[in-house]
């Protein structure tokens, strides 16, 4: 990295807390617009102070309602907050209805809050990449906390580990079978379990169930997921939920877990970026590269099989061509 190259204008706009510029950068990140890369590069050294908290769980369990209460509590204690709500895109039309904002209230004109809705736009890896960059932009913008709400279905909730330093899994009493099927994946994800709708019957039983399950897990010396019962209806348990999140964050600082987590997330992110580059570089290039013409010919004639050909191609492509201007 060259020292002190002048900041791109969009990066300067972020640092002077221009909300429109922040919104436009998130749009560019969502569109995977390569023009945004210099700005992301310039801002990276100015990130890392925001706490990025994932809130995940099935549809309708009260994630947005909880985010709303956490938002109010954090603002009352003077913390600035970014909120990202991710909802799935329709696999058929590519469209989506993003409704998380409905539940979010704030004081009129409060500059300490920035809310953004995102659609998953197809593949789970893509959600993770764009959401991570959006969270990081909110970090550079100066938000103390970034709350990322995702619908916990299959891959997306696993992807939250690649974004957030603390992940909260929200469940409700009597989720029954759904919890059973979720359970396997849940423990890789949850730093804190939140059983919401505690005003409904069965919450204590669900908490007890979960507590048993957690105590069975063999994680001696490691963080043991906390279990908090909340009601977004009457607000009970929400301060305790935030305390549990803070305890996990403090644990990360104490045990070197933060650096380890950041390294793990960095490796995932860099992998994705490299794969993107390689894929972008290779796609469609093979057919037009003269040096592979003979090889393609031989595969077509059944003299070489495609697997062997792929090994040959990977070996000859170690040295990358300079990137095409895009």
């Amino acid at each position: 990295m060259r020292p002190r190259s002048p900041l791109p204008p969009a990066a300067r706009a972020i640092l002077r807390r221009d909300r429109g510029a922040l919104a436009r950068l998130i749009t560019q990140v969502e569109r995977r617009d390569p023009a945004v890369v210099p700005t992301l590069k310039a801002l990276y050294p100015r990130t890392g102070s925001a706490r990025i908290i994932g809130i995940t769980g099935p549809l309708g369990v009260g994630k947005s309602s909880l985010v709303n209460l956490l938002l109010a509590q954090l603002r009352a204690s003077g913390k600035t907050v970014g909120v990202i709500g991710v909802d799935p895109s329709s696999p058929f039309s590519g469209g989506s209805v993003l409704g998380d904002r409905i539940r979010l209230e704030r004081k009129a004109g409060d500059p300490g809050v920035f809310i953004r809705s995102m659609a998953s736009r197809g593949h789970a890896g893509g959600v993770a990449a764009a959401t991570l960059q959006a969270a990081r932009l909110l970090d550079a913008f100066g938000m103390d906390v970034v709350l990322v709400e995702t619908v916990g279905s299959g891959q997306v909730d696993v992807a939250i580990r690649d974004i957030a330093s603390t992940s909260v899994v929200v469940l409700v009493p009597h989720l029954g079978d759904e919890v059973q099927t979720l359970k396997a994946g849940l423990f890789e994800i949850a730093d804190v379990f939140c059983i919401n709708k505690g005003d409904l019957p069965g919450a204590d039983l669900a908490a007890k169930d979960l507590r048993e399950y957690v105590s069975l897990a063999n994680n001696a010396g490691r963080w043991k997921p906390e279990i908090v019962v909340t009601s977004a209806r009457d607000g009970s348990g929400v301060p305790e939920l935030w305390q549990a999140i803070e305890r996990h964050e403090a644990y990360l600082d104490r045990d070197g877990g933060r650096l380890a987590g950041d390294r793990r997330r960095a490796s995932r992110e860099i992998e994705e970026l490299v794969l993107d580059r390689v894929a972008g570089d290779l796609r469609g290039a093979l057919e037009n590269e003269p040096k592979h013409a003979a090889l393609l010919e031989r595969v077509a004639r059944r003299e070489v099989d495609p697997h062997t050909a792929s090994e040959i191609v990977s070996r000859t492509r170690v040295r990358r061509r300079p990137p095409r201007s895009r």
Binding site: A23, T27, R32, D33, S90, I102, G109
Partner: protein
Amino acid sequence: MTRAVKPPPIRVLIAKPGLDGHDRGAKVVARALRDAGMEVIYAGLRQTPEEIVEAAIEEDVDLIGLSILSGAHMALFPKVLKLLKLRKAGNIPVFAGGIIPDEDARALKRHGIKAIFGPGTSLEEIVTTAKGIARRSS
């Protein structure tokens, strides 16, 4: 980063200013726009003009749709347009739906509302018009 294969979807904010509590119409329109491939940010009921404009800026939308039944459109819609200009977002097109007398509709169009749909309008017409006026088309 690789180039996106498909053009990015149009992002549209659907909001309901005013005090009436019915958003069935707004929801139907939201779903129709989704089925046409748009990303619809649904802000819900009883939004103030300030909230609508803040949401439009944060969400960086290409289009705003306002729905109203309460009769307060002459007070609320021009306020939204004025605030958008004030926040340097005057280039976001706004359309409206609801029960709006012809005379008011003409006045609102002069204020800068791009399209106005009465209760009988077909969803097809709304979708086509919305695609036509969005500031970034897909």
